[in-house]
């Protein structure tokens, strides 16, 4: 009986992995925004006024994806239809300044790291640390290892101990109460190692910039090598950022 039920479950499961993570465009997802290059009809500034994270610059209009929480207030308030969100999940960057999206342009492609991809291009172990993350980023990072996204197929895995980790993946705005633990985790990691900042909170403080419990000093001494925007980022955003940075050639 049990065997029969196990087989029935297995059949219902089918084959779930997404064959090509680079091409996948999740239906309905609010991903990469595009800013039209045609001038605004009015000078209302409603996008910048309503943005909860001051992600928008004016003249010309820009969006800092390291701050954006994808609330779509700007898109909905704009009388000129200048800002439009697409379902493109590929928004990662290796340089912080690359996350500032400009009128009429997409995001520049991530330039693979030559040194790091030589070392980690076939195997990457990551330790995740949440420091004020709301469990949305954490759930999406967990999902990157599920049957759909299956990052393990590239040798990319979550590990329990920082001692076993090559990369520290940070979520949350970095709380003061986690300050010591983050430092201990980082110091425990063997070199070579690098830092990944996931989500608007980790990248810029996001909605919690200058909040009473936030302390971002750690980032003054250790800079992220990869930035993964979103609130929370889609597993595909994370997967593509890592793949582009470390495993550009791999299918």
């Amino acid at each position: 009986m049990t065997l029969f039920k196990a087989i029935r479950t297995r059949i219902s499961q089918g084959t779930q992995y997404i064959p090509d993570l680079r091409q996948a465009r999740p239906k309905g997802f609010r991903g990469l925004p595009l800013i039209d290059a045609t001038p605004c009809e009015t000078e209302c500034h409603s996008c910048a006024d309503l943005c909860p994270t001051q992600a928008i610059g004016l003249n010309p209009v820009s969006i800092d994806l390291g701050r954006c929480v994808f609330c779509k207030e700007c898109e909905e308030s704009c009388p000129s239809g200048k800002i439009r969100f697409t379902s493109d999940p590929r928004m990662g960057a290796a340089n912080r300044s690359d996350l500032v999206l400009k009128e009429g342009f997409g995001l520049p492609a991530i330039r693979p790291s030559e040194t790091l991809s030589k070392i980690f291009g076939r195997s990457l172990k990551m330790r995740q640390v949440s420091a004020g993350g709301c469990n949305a980023c954490e759930l999406e990072l967990n999902a990157s290892a599920n049957v759909n996204f299956d990052l393990q197929r590239y040798g990319i895995e979550w590990v329990a101990s920082p001692r076993h980790a090559d990369a520290l993946v940070l979520t949350g705005p970095l709380t003061r109460n986690m300050r010591e633990a983050i430092r201990i985790a980082w110091d425990s990691m063997p070199e070579p190692r690098f830092l990944v900042a996931v989500g608007a909170c980790a990248i810029s403080g996001g909605l919690y910039e200058a909040a009473a419990g936030v302390d971002r000093d750690f980032l003054k001494s250790v800079g992220p090598s990869i930035y993964v925007p979103g609130c929370p980022p889609h597993p595909l955003t994370f997967a593509n950022a890592i793949l582009d940075f470390l495993m550009p050639g791999r299918k």
Binding site: T53, F70, Q128, S130, G132, C134, A181, H234
Partner: protein
Amino acid sequence: MSGSVLVHATDLGSLATLDARAWREEIANRLQDGMRAITFFGRTSGPTAILTCVLADSQYRLLILRTEIDPRQGYHELTTEFPSLQAFEREMHEQLGLHIAGHPWLKPIRYEGGAQGSMSAYPFYKIDGKEVHEVAVGPIHAGVIEPGSFRFMCEGEKVHHLEIQLGYQHRGVEKKLLQGDARRLGPLIETIAGDSSVAHAWAYCASIEALAGADLEAGADVFRAIALELERVAMHLSGMAGLSTDLGFLQGASTYGRLRTIAINSMMQLCGSRFGRSAVRPGGAGTRMSLAMTTELSGNVGLLQRDLAIINDRFASSMTVQHRLRGIGILSRNDAVQLGLVGMVARASGVRMDARQMTHQGIYKYVPPGSPILEEGDCRARAHIRIEEMKASLTWLKEVLARHPELLPKQASLGALPPNRLTVSIVEGWRGEVVHCLETGNAGELIHYKIQDPSLRNWFGLAIAVRGNEISDFPICNKSFDLSYCGNDL
């Protein structure tokens, strides 16, 4: 109408401020009579502290009791007689420096304010004896999850006591909420506990709409309830996948995980976010569901029903799974009531409470969702209550989607917030009741925002449930409670 969520707005002019002694006595009497505190908090006002206790009877009829006292003088604790108040009194002590005479355990809830960064100096409880040893876990755990610290005091393998240390996730949400336009707090609210974005957003909106006198269209109410039930299904699936992993039941982990993808992708099609971000905004903005979307969502609900039945059957008939869960981490009904636990944890211990069933209007009134109860209070009951709740939510979704093939409500206009009001709104999220209390000042500005995630109360239930169990049972117990760190730490 204000929708199917319980919301209570009070004109502060009509709310008596009791003398501290009478106030304390009244709270004790009402608790004695069987009411329970759904939230209890304070704020400073110049040199004094204003304390507010919100009590509810079994029908969710509310009674608000308020006093104003000198925080140095404080009052005599109520926790010894009513353990359900322990977290509230600790929180008031921490936030206001309130003197609560005689309180047995004023451990900080989250180390906020000046106490930040001092957590590692905390002296945990100690027990002595030859056979006794301690195990420290955290704040960073061995998985992709939030931080929190657990200190086990064990005799051999047996857990004598567990002390939970939280606060690592403290960001300062409540203070942030007092900045900026109170009607535009949606994005911040959705990050209080990101896995309960819809529940918190709805509680917030209900209060704002009650304050601003917004006339919410029925369609917006239906849409919110659909999003809330989808959130419940998604997080129960996530919890079942996690529990299966901890049980070493890999087929459960992968299958529940796969089904969760369907649930959250359905949410994404409604609002662009797998976590329901932007789905619920004051006045009903963002709530639109075309015929095509409903059809697709209905199809996904059907798919979930079909495949869930298969894996649930497998879960229920797997001897190793059932054996591993049965009799582990028992929380008695009496303990659940005494500790004031809420939500699915309480319902798995035989306590009947569900805010969705107490509403007098809106979609939950016309299509009441099923609210299963299990009696055993062990890990098995807390797993199976989630299975039963998913089934109930999917049945409910099927019916509601059939009744409402299209939801295109117009945005209700939101006036300015009136001065000197207090609102309480209660949403039955997947963990339990989410309570938001907002208070406006003389100019209609927000002067206080109290957030109450169910986790604040339920964490202590976990500490009690693991007593007497093996330390290796802890991961299963913890997962079966599935509590929020950030929702507690704020």
